[in-house]
């Protein structure tokens, strides 16, 4: 049937992978025991691919807040804030986010994906230009399409190319929204934010930073890369998610500009969707407080990230970026990455398998996301398992030898 013709190439690619006897498409965590442990294929497994950077999904205070909200406010809001009204807890969470960032205008969205969709599509419309990093997350690309602005991209993390593209825009640079990410989710590298802010200011453009993977991870107070790079004053909008360091689901946008409040009336992903449910709002608010009051969690995360990074580097893995909570081992071929991912799983280690076309530069990656909740023993087991799959494949593939 012609309608389904477009799925043929996907079907072929999927079958090609399944022929290897490995099925990475329908991985199920049968039981989740803690922030770092679950059961997969009936086997106790250490989870190193969850983005649960601070391990807050099982924090007793977050669970208690969610349970209380569930009992007091019910299971869901059953409608959008525009049509059906906000719960006071939505506004409370927005005030808590404003307080956390020291910025005056926060808006909560139902998912992180929708936060990017909602903020970008509302801010940049016909006649405006969006200038995005080439390695941006899909939610950024989709947000750009939704708004109807002209979309240009610059080479990943290349400030010279960004400068060139702003120069070519001439006067239109003043109606340009630059979009970058704090930490890029695939390789774990960071935007050169100080330089980007300088170029943005030179051309009178506006800047959004997506701190999805850097909130709770970077900066003295865990605000993200803008805080770490000491350029918060030069950032116009921050977008973030609740589904990583904050351990729930949802997203937000925040800004220094009072006009940001008007996107509540124009942002379709904000208006035409059910608002976040009370238990999620409650646990997120507590998680935000924990991030603020417990810098030790961030210190532990970095200690763990350093340990895993050093361990993998010593074995001989080629790692995608400098040390951070996202550690991506670059594997020469897709087939090797598949076999190693399966090998790790059979040893009770779950990491993310990332293969083209979803990866930058067509890389095949075994992507780890480190958690503050990983114990030294777990990290040791992870490193040992990576060493085992490395040596077993090295015997068959000379290109892996270092």
């Amino acid at each position: 049937m012609s309608l389904f013709k477009k799925f043929l190439s996907i079907k072929q690619a999927r079958e090609e992978i399944l022929q290897s006897g490995i099925n990475p498409f329908h991985l199920t965590i049968e039981k989740i025991n803690s922030a770092t442990e679950g059961v997969i294929n009936g086997r106790a497994t250490i989870l190193v691919g969850t983005n649960n950077y601070l391990g807050l999904t099982f924090h007793p205070d977050c669970i208690q807040a969610a349970q209380e909200a569930l009992a007091q406010e019910g299971t869901g809001t059953t409608g959008s804030r525009m049509a059906n009204g906000s719960f006071s807890s939505h506004s409370d969470l927005e005030r808590a986010i404003e307080d956390f960032y020291g910025m005056p205008h926060a808006i909560v969205f139902s998912t992180g994906y929708q936060a990017n969709l909602g903020v970008l599509s509302a801010l940049a419309g016909p006649g405006d230009t969006l200038l995005i990093d080439g390695d941006s997350h899909a939610s950024i690309y989709d947000g750009c399409r939704l708004g109807g602005a002209e979309v240009l991209r610059f080479k990943h993390n290349d400030v010279t190319d960004l400068d060139k593209k702003l120069r070519r825009l001439g006067d239109r640079s003043r109606r340009t929204l630059i979009v970058v990410e704090g930490i890029y989710s695939m390789l774990g590298d960071r935007a050169p934010l100080k330089e980007i802010v300088a170029v943005k200011q030179q051309y009178g453009a506006t800047l959004v930073v997506d701190e999805a993977h850097s909130l709770g991870v970077l900066g003295k107070r865990g605000r993200g890369l803008a805080e770490e790079a000491d350029v918060e004053q030069g950032v116009d909008f921050i977008v973030g998610t609740f589904s990583k360091s904050l351990g729930s689901t949802g997203g937000f946008g925040i800004s220094i500009h009072p006009e940001f409040e008007f996107i509540r009336y124009t942002s379709r992903p904000y208006i035409f969707t059910a608002s976040p449910c009370p238990s999620v709002v409650a646990s997120t608010k507590v998680a935000l407080r924990i991030i603020r009051e417990t810098p030790q969690l961030r210190e532990q995360l970095w200690e763990n990230a350093n340990a895993l990074y050093d361990g993998l580097e010593k074995i001989g893995y080629n790692l995608g970026a400098k040390v951070g909570p996202v550690i991506a081992a670059m594997i020469p071929t897709k087939e090797q990455a598949l076999a190693m991912w399966q090998g790790l799983l059979e040893q009770g280690i779950y990491v993310n398998l990332m293969i083209p076309p979803a990866t930058p530069n067509g890389e095949s990656l075994l992507r780890c996301s480190v958690s503050a909740a990983h114990t030294p023993k777990q990290l040791e087991t992870i490193i040992q398992s990576f060493a085992n799959v490395h040596s077993s494949l090295k015997e068959h593939t000379p290109s892996l030898q270092t």
Partner: protein, 81 residues
């Protein structure tokens, strides 16, 4: 102002290294199905062309660019703007 007729030979030269399948790209050559470029190569080619002609090609226009001729005309339009 540089015209399409002047752009075309320059564009063909730039595309040649990517045209192993067809040898010499023609006006009618399809960039994806005939040159066999994957999404990564498309990105690389476009960045090269942007620098070559000092233009920025909007992503919004890419769905309309299928052939070498389409790309040449797009470059001409952007240079005029």
């Amino acid at each position: 102002m540089i015209t399409y007729a002047e752009i075309l030979p320059q564009l063909v030269e730039t595309l040649k290294p990517y045209a192993k399948k067809v040898g010499h790209p023609k006006e009618t050559t399809d960039l994806v199905s005939e040159l066999g470029l994957d999404s990564l190569q498309v990105m690389q080619v476009l960045l090269k062309i942007e620098d070559q002609f000092d233009i920025s090609i909007p992503l919004n226009n890419l769905p309309n660019i299928r052939t070498v001729k389409d790309l040449g005309q797009e470059i001409e339009q952007l240079l005029k703007a």
